[in-house]
Amino acid sequence: MEILELIQSNLLTPIILFFLFGIIAARIKSDLKIPEAISEFLPIYLLAAIGLHGGIEMRNTGFENMLIPMLVAIGLSLLFTLNHYQILRRLGKFNLFDSYALASTYGAVGAVHFSVGLSFLKNQGVTSEGYIAAILAVLEPLAFILAIFMTNMAVSKQIKAKKQSFTDADSTEIDIGLNQTKTKISKVLHESITGKAIVILLGSIVIGYIIGEEGFESIKIVFDDMFTGAIVIFMIEMGIIAGQRLDDIKKVGIFLTAFAIIMPLFNGTIGTLVATALGLSVGGAVMFGLLMASASFIAAPAVLRHAIPQAKPSLYITSALGITFPFNIIVTLPILFTISTFVHNGEGTIDLFNFITKGF
């Protein structure tokens, strides 16, 4: 009951309403559109604000305790990515490329999710550990790197298999193919790590840490007070893009639709419980869980289109933006909050930990 109320009150916040509004605008084929320059700038702004906020928090509270949650987040992310792959490939019968692309889309993290989560917590009057912004930064490229690595392994194997059944004349070409694959990995790696999202996020965390609250004062109005207003504007555009993609959901199919709803909820719940077990605060556990639940729809295409060009973007973008994102910010977020509040009140952490490890 409490969850339903929370979902309802969350539904009636400007962020969610403007997102739904964007979807409607797209469905009635309105020409409403946030100009490209603005919608390209907003994620940069949001990540800078998130980073500064995280860095300042880390300066206040220290970041010694950050190592374990960070490593656990990395471990969970990799585990989840592999798990997604198995489910998609075996149960979903997707081809190798789509399976890896989708697995990493859902193993990766989403900065817009994160922004909405922070706003949600602000609204609830709850804070979260600043270092989770750092975890966001570290997780950003992780699932992609894993997926790319695995895909290239698989492709290499295929090529090698072919090689053995060919004459020598062809083998040079295959060697070139193998080499190209390796260059591609290192290139995609570089691109992932120097991608604008990570760079602005990490940079802002460091700067936030250096300047602290005092140095932040002069830019607080832009990078803190305006934060929710900026998200609202961004959510209009996200809604419009999601709305334009709703037709593609048919192509996504029932299996992937179910996956796009159940998987994040599952990952998010695990994440929230694990974070609670690790001692994170109510809000921190929600943000940790949300990271696990989130799917990437801005960074993903940029990386995956180069790394796994054979995979269909209409699958991974549509499911992540059209299904998972709305579901997560409307339903998963309040659920995670309820879970986190529940397990932080009364229940002992050790029991929980047992519960989780069993649940695995």
């Binding site: 490209e36 390209e40 893009i241 334009q244 993609r245 801005i298 295409p301 940029a302 289109r305 180069h306 060009p309 054979q310 973007p313 973008i317």
Partner: protein, 100 residues
């Protein structure tokens, strides 16, 4: 005014394939090109709404006829299968053929 005949290769493709194309050009020792973002429609549907990565780009390359077949071959071999892409060739006259 003497104009020399050279070829103009134009590639209209999704923006995320631009890098691949420029690399192919570089591999064939072509460093001159012009690019600009465009919208479009084709077999892979309407492009230009949504995220910036889902826009198209046009890459225009003036080059000597000798280089054309190899470049075209590599582009079509590596990119036609997986990317939204259209490629065409036209004739242009230039003043300074040594530039290309």
């Amino acid at each position: 005014m003497k104009l020399y005949n050279v070829k103009m290769l134009t590639i209209t493709c999704e923006i995320l394939a631009q890098e691949n194309i420029i690399e192919i050009l570089k591999k064939h020792d072509i460093t001159g090109y012009t690019t600009y973002e465009v919208d479009g429609n084709g077999e892979r549907g309407l492009r230009g709404q949504g995220f910036k990565n889902e826009k198209n780009v046009k890459v225009e390359v003036i080059m000597r006829e000798e280089k054309l077949p190899d470049v075209v071959e590599e582009i079509s071999r590596t990119l036609f299968a997986n990317f939204a892409i259209v490629l065409y060739v036209s004739d242009v006259g230039v003043l300074r053929p040594e530039k290309f």
